[in-house]
Each structure stands twice: as C-alpha cells, then as structure tokens.
C-alpha cells in the first residue's frame, strides 16, 4: 500500500551549462555528474549563444550516453534566442531523433510537430493562464521564472498537474540580449567576438562604480553576482508540489552541491548545516531575494519551515 501521507520526494536536475567551458572541462564535468551525482535529470545543450556549439557539439552524444548509463534522464536544452535558421535546425534535429527537449524560445513551439517538451524559464509561465496554454501545447514539465516568490511558485506547482521545476542553486539568469556584452567589454562585436566569454568560466564581474558587486556577465547573458542558495526553502516548496530543483553548473564541486541538496530534501541534515558545508567549498556571495519576494540581489536569513 502506498503511504499517501508521505510527502512526495522532489528530484534534482543539473541545468544546462550556461558558461563557455573548454571541451575538456565539459567532458570532465559530465563524467563526474554521470558517475557520482545524486541527480535524476541532466540538461545538455547550448542556451546562451549558438556560436559556441562547434566547440563541443560533437561530444554531446557521448556525454548523453554516459549520463544515461549513470541512470540520469537527459533533456536537450535549446537556444534562448531562435534568431536564425541554424538555431531552428537544432530544435528540428533533436525532435527528429525523438529526444526530449527544453524550449527556451516560443519560436521552438512552431518547429515542434506536437511533441512533448520541457518549458524553460524564459517561456514566462507566470500564471495559471499561461500554464494552461503551454500544457495544451505539450509541456510535460514547466520551469518557473526565476523572478517568482515561493508563494507564487507554490500556487503554480499546486495548479500544474504535470511536473514543476524551479531554479534552486547557482548564478541566476536575469537578462539575455541579442547584443554580446562580454564582447563589448573587450571593445569587440558579437560577429568577431574571439570567444572572450571562454576566458571566464564563472562569468565576468560587472561591479558598481564604488566597487561593490552587482552583475555577472556571460556573453549575451546577465546573471546575479552571487549564487542563489535556498536550502531553507526546499522542504516547504517540496510540500507545495515542486517536482524538480535545478542546480545550475558553476565551477565549484557540483557533485557536493547535489549531495547537500539531496541530504536536506531527505532530512539527513538541516539547511543550516548544508549552508555551513557549502561555505567550506566556496567563498562566492549568496543571494536569495526573489524566492522571498524581495529584490533578487538580497540575502535573507531563512527561517526554516
């Protein structure tokens, strides 16, 4: 008999790698994730800039195979900006191969021919009406916009009969553009960018004029200066119906990060202990404002529910 009083256990996913890492660094990263990380799903693919693909796309099938052997579901993330036929073709090719994809631009919906998909956070499912539309289009899993408070996520997770996923760790994407700001910082243009974004595997800092941190720049993408960390919110959001917590790859030990999240969700130890253990492996600032209904760059000490 199923114990219907036991709360459902949320799963962990590794989000698509947003930064332009070297081939070797990517391969090493996914090998460890495949073999060691207590995660259920891994997103693979280029979301930020399709110019980067030639550097590593030939490795994707082998990486996917390794992840699947390690027991992970693989979902192929597609570009946030379907601006050219090249990007539309990426979506078509995955569909032709029968793969589950994450769409990050509504343009992808027109390329799909009724297949099921994962809706990425940029699809902007802020409310029930939008949720109804994307589910009608075939979304089996829906990602919450990073701006949403825990309260809003809880409403949508309860409303969604399918799977709800939420960004739970890592630098939060807060804007994307057609213009490349990484190139601009080097007085270059996107067309002749020399792949300067590859210099910064954790992104490039953009600080306030008085030196205080503000943003992280990753090519065309703007992110928070610090890592979103929300150990104290995991259990209540799990109770509210969040099915997947997404851990976005940073250069720190993501296997350890996954273990810490798994431990909190399983009740092995509490959020304060997880936070201490996380502090042992990184000195990056932490942020969590959005989930508490505040400015995203804020850090709020969490009361554990």
């Amino acid at each position: 008999m199923t114990d219907i009083s036991a709360p459902p256990s949320a799963r962990l996913s590794i989000g698509p790698l947003l930064f332009h890492w070297t081939r070797e660094k990517r391969q090493a990263f996914y090998a460890r994730i495949a073999d060691e990380a207590p995660v259920d799903c891994v997103y693979v693919g280029e979301v930020v800039c399709s110019k980067r693909l030639p550097w590593f796309e030939d490795d994707i099938p082998a990486i996917a195979e390794r992840l699947r052997r390690g027991g992970k579901q693989v979902v192929f993330s597609t570009p946030a900006l379907i601006a050219s036929d090249r990007e539309a073709q990426i979506v078509r090719d995955y569909c032709a191969a029968g793969e589950m994809i994450e769409i990050n631009d509504l343009a992808s919906l027109r390329v799909l021919a009724g297949e099921k998909f994962v809706a990425g956070a940029l699809i902007n499912v802020f409310n029930e009406g939008a949720m109804d539309v994307v589910r009608r289009m075939g979304a089996v899993r829906v990602n919450m916009p990073v701006e949403l408070s825990a309260e809003a996520v809880a409403i949508l997770a309860a409303y969604n009969p399918g799977e709800t996923e939420m960004f739970a760790f890592g630098r939060q994407p807060i804007a994307i553009s057609q213009r490349c700001y990484h190139a601009r910082a080097f007085d270059l243009h996107k067309d002749a960018c020399q792949f300067v974004c590859g210099n910064d595997p954790e992104g490039m800092k953009a600080d306030q004029l008085d030196g205080r941190p503000l943003f992280t720049i990753n090519g065309t993408q703007t992110l928070s200066h610090g890592y979103l960390v929300m150990f104290g919110m995991l259990l209540q959001l799990q109770r509210a119906g969040v099915d997947y917590f997404r851990l976005s790859p940073q250069t720190i030990d993501m296997v350890k990060v996954a273990e810490l999240h798994r431990a909190v969700l399983d009740g092995a130890f509490g959020p304060e202990e997880a936070l201490e253990k996380l502090r042992e492996i990184t000195s990056t600032d932490f942020v969590n404002g959005y989930v508490h209904g505040q400015a995203g760059m804020n850090w709020v000490e969490e009361q554990v529910a």
Partner: protein
C-alpha cells in the same frame, strides 16, 4: 486612405491623448491605471470612463486607439488583466496589445472580434515565433523588438502574414523584452508583473564630491562629472566597473531616432512607426508627434522637412541619438 507609414503615438494620460490626436497621430496607444500595462507609474494612465471618452475623441478625428495590456499576470490574480481586456472592448478600442500567453488566450476566446496586437514584451523576433502567435491567437500585428537590423526586418516581414510595427523614436531597452529582471533584481519591482522598470520611488540623485551620483535604492547606477548631463538611472543605461574601468556596459543613455531611415523602413515593408514615451509630458508628445506628422506627410509627397527633423534631434534623450540595432554592428 493609404498612409506612407502609420504613426502610432503614446497617450500616457487623457490630456496627452488629445495632444497626440490633435498633433496628427494616426493611432494612439494607452493603458489602464494599474499593473496591467508596462508603464504603471503614478500620475499616468486611464480609468475605464476616461478610456471611453478618449476613444470617442480619437474616433471623431479618424484616429485609432490601442490599449496595452502587456504585462504578465501574477499567479492567483487574473482578474485585473481580464477586466482590462473587457473594458477595452467595452470602450470601443480598436485593438489590445498583449504579451502573456494566458491573456492572449482569454482575449482570443472572449473577444474574438477585438484585434490583438503582439506587444514587444512578447519578444517575438523570428518568423517562427510570430507565426506561432498568429496561428495560436490570431494576432493581426506584431511590434518588433528593437534588435533587428533593417535587412533583418525586411527579411522577417517577407516571411510573416501580418503587419509589423517598429519603434521609431525614444528610449529603448537592450535586453530581450519581457524577460529582463534587472530592475527587480535591484529594486524588487518587476517590469514583467508590476509594469514598472526603475520606478521613480526607488531613484535618488546625490551630490558627492562635486559629482552627481544616481542610485536605484542602495545601488550606484552612474556618476556624472560637473560638465556631464545626467540621465535617468534605468539600469541598462548605467555605468559599471568592468575589467577595471567604468563603462556603459549595456548601452549609452541614447535615444532612438529613425528619421534618416524612413525610406528604408518603408521599403522593408513596415506598416507602422511607434513613438515610445507614455511617461513623457503632454508638451513633449505634442512636439514629437507634430514633427513626425510633417516629416511623414512630406515623405509621402517625396520631399523632406529638415526643420522638423532638427527639432526631433533636439528632443532626443540626453541629446544623443542612435539608430540602435537598425544599423549593423550593434551586437
């Protein structure tokens, strides 16, 4: 009467609507006094009665009225957006300008005969995206994001079955619209859900060591020397320390002005020009619309209006202009 290019003008208030109509707008766009539109600022916008009066005033003078309901409703609170659509229909508006999938769905279902325009907040910049919205929600016009070169605009228009409206004058965002959370990252106020980017209540200007420092809440957006003109601290127009030096990382505080590109835009198949600025004064709106009216009428007759063009240049924000993405090399 076929127009050279339709002139779509901002109506931030009932008075500005009348000023725009009187100055020669072909079409005006406005919003209700709540979070349902992306210019939700104090002192702006219309209640349902004011909208109905504005529609009557405009229609008498052969001017159309569009109502922006272009933000993204919060979970658990669809009411204001549904009411906005219903009130726009009841007031006789010619179209609603929408972005959220659920709002598009509601409008298409409940008011199938009310024209639906796709807001720039939907960030539909490809034929695929535009055809998706056309096929799913029956949109008649798309407002194109300000990130396409003229060649790209032309190529895109040739691949879509609906009208295209492009920004022609005023402030511009540099990020993919509707998904820019920079303002809420800093202030907690969300352009997407609250309709307010860098709202005035969060802005401060302080004299520090002979410089003017602008902030959004506690965050420094810019520092101006004595001889530098200051600019409103919209975060994507801020100056930041990057690679050890201060720079306008995202965009300089410039204004868009496409007057020298009119013939190319027309050749590209653009239907309408949109002037940005519902938050601008009635006087500004009157001046800008009158100048555009002269220039467009002259263009239709094959001539130019250099005096009007010069007047527009002086009205551009910060005194600096750009063709933005319309010219190549912006990216």
């Amino acid at each position: 009467m076929s127009k050279y290019l339709e002139l779509v003008c901002p109506a931030g208030t009932p008075a500005a609507l009348r000023a725009a109509v009187d100055a020669g707008a072909d079409t005006v766009y406005c919003g209700f006094r709540d979070a349902t539109n992306a210019r939700n600022y104090p002192g702006l916008n219309f209640d349902p009665d004011e909208l109905a009066e504005g529609v009557e005033y405009a229609h008498k003078r052969h001017c159309r009225v569009l109502v922006a309901v272009n933000t993204f409703p919060r979970a658990g609170n669809p009411g204001p957006w549904r009411n906005a659509i219903d009130n726009a229909a009841a007031a006789g508006a010619d179209a609603v300008i929408l972005a959220d999938l659920g709002v598009l769905d509601y409008a298409a279902t409940k008011h199938p005969n009310l024209r639906r325009h796709l807001s720039v907040q939907a960030a539909a910049a490809s034929p695929h995206a535009i055809r998706f919205y056309r096929e799913t929600f029956g949109i008649s016009r798309v407002v194109l994001p300000r990130v396409l070169s003229i060649e790209e605009v032309k190529a895109l228009i040739s691949q879509i079955p609906i009208e295209a409206e492009v920004f022609a004058f005023g402030s511009l965002g540099t990020m993919v619209e509707g998904r820019c959370f920079i303002s809420s990252y800093i202030t907690g106020c969300s352009p997407s859900m609250d309709g307010a980017c860098a709202p005035a209540a969060h802005v401060s200007y302080k004299e520090e060591n002979g410089c003017l420092v602008t902030r959004l809440d506690d965050v420094v957006m810019n520092r101006f020397e004595e001889d530098e003109p200051g600019a409103y601290p919209t975060p994507c127009k801020g100056r930041f320390m990057v690679r050890g030096r201060p720079m306008y990382l995202f965009e300089e505080p410039v204004a868009l002005n496409v007057i020298p590109l009119l013939a190319e835009l027309k050749a590209a198949g653009v239907t309408a020009l949109k002037i940005e600025g519902r938050q601008r004064s009635r006087a500004y709106v009157g001046q800008v619309v009158a100048a555009f009216r002269k220039i467009l009428d002259a263009a239709a007759a094959g001539t130019e209006m250099p005096a009007a063009a010069a007047e527009l240049r002086s009205l551009a924000e910060g005194g600096k202009e750009t063709f933005s993405a319309y010219a190549k090399g912006w990216r």
